[in-house]
Amino acid sequence: MTVVRMEEKVLNENQRIALDLRRRFQENQVLCLNLVSSPGSGKTTLLESTLASFRPEERVAVLTGDLQTENDARRLMRYGFPVQQIVTGGVCHLDGKMIERALGKWSLADLDILFIENVGNLVCPSSYDLGEESKIVLLSVTEGEDKPLKYPSMFHKASLLVLTKIDLLPYVPFDIDAARANARSVHPEMEILEVSCSTGKGMDAWLAWLRKRRATTGMLTVER
């Protein structure tokens, strides 16, 4: 019997594609952000409000993933920026190959920011690197404040937590301080923002976060 040491990542093939995507994003100075959350936390709504606040000449695009339907793409297309729906047909996450395929139609040199709206799911998307600069996790105040403890893998990997629907705080038992503490216990360095897309509260801070991230991307040196 021969034991063969493998010592490789199980998702080797996805990792290879993700590294290639990351190199392409860096070479073209594109800030790629991977938005993840449970279904219904407000990823599409946050993107709608974000796109609505951009000037038409901004170089922004969105890839949005769902198991079925083109509904999200239709919602996002109204703002005049390039949008593509990725229908996974039952697959519970986006993977590197899906992103690579979708990007085939676009020139990265024409983009400054690429948003990827992942499939609503706090489990599986955490295992698949898409070449993004950061994962952003959304948690709405109509969910439980213990989500970071229940789904630690995702909250551990995301660099920013956006607490959404904060206009509903007076009507729900959500303990926002506990939510923050839970997120930080899983990921001490996590940045946290609070946003309501209905009232616009917190949108300025979110847009400032984007601008700051975008500025740092421009200064990144490309690893070859």
């Binding site: 021969t2 493998m6 199980v10 990997k157 001490p188």
Partner: protein, 119 residues
């Protein structure tokens, strides 16, 4: 939820390595799964068994090593496993009680080894 896809990636890589050795037969597979990998060890085991059930690989042994979250204390440098009753959160350093700790590992999803029988 996505353990079937992961099990099939593991099987694929193992069979590819076996195929590089003329006449070899795959006997066992060893993987390493961290508590923060987003993959459940039992579900992965179950997915693998279902995947190979009616194939030539049905007798391949599949072993999963579960890895804890490991943190390093910023003050005294001590490396420690997070307690099993709170495997995901940042526990204080058991040596100096300092709360400034840094994540070291716990998100592994690795194919460790395969065992093959060669002619």
């Amino acid at each position: 939820m996505h353990e079937v896809g992961i099990a099939s990636s593991i099987l694929e890589a193992s069979l590819a390595e076996t195929a590089r050795r003329p006449g070899a037969r795959l006997v066992s597979i060893g993987v390493r799964v961290g508590v923060l990998s987003g993959v459940d060890a039992d579900a992965l085991q179950f997915a693998f068994e279902c995947l190979v059930a009616d194939t030539d690989e049905r007798n391949v042994a599949f072993s999963v090593e579960t890895c804890p979250r490991v943190n390093r204390c910023e003050q005294c440098g001590h490396e420690f496993d997070s307690p099993s009753n709170a495997p995901f959160t940042d526990a204080p350093c058991p040596q100096c009680q300092c709360r400034q700790t840094r994540f070291v590992s716990g998100d592994q999803l690795d194919l460790k080894f395969i065992e093959v029988e060669e002619p």
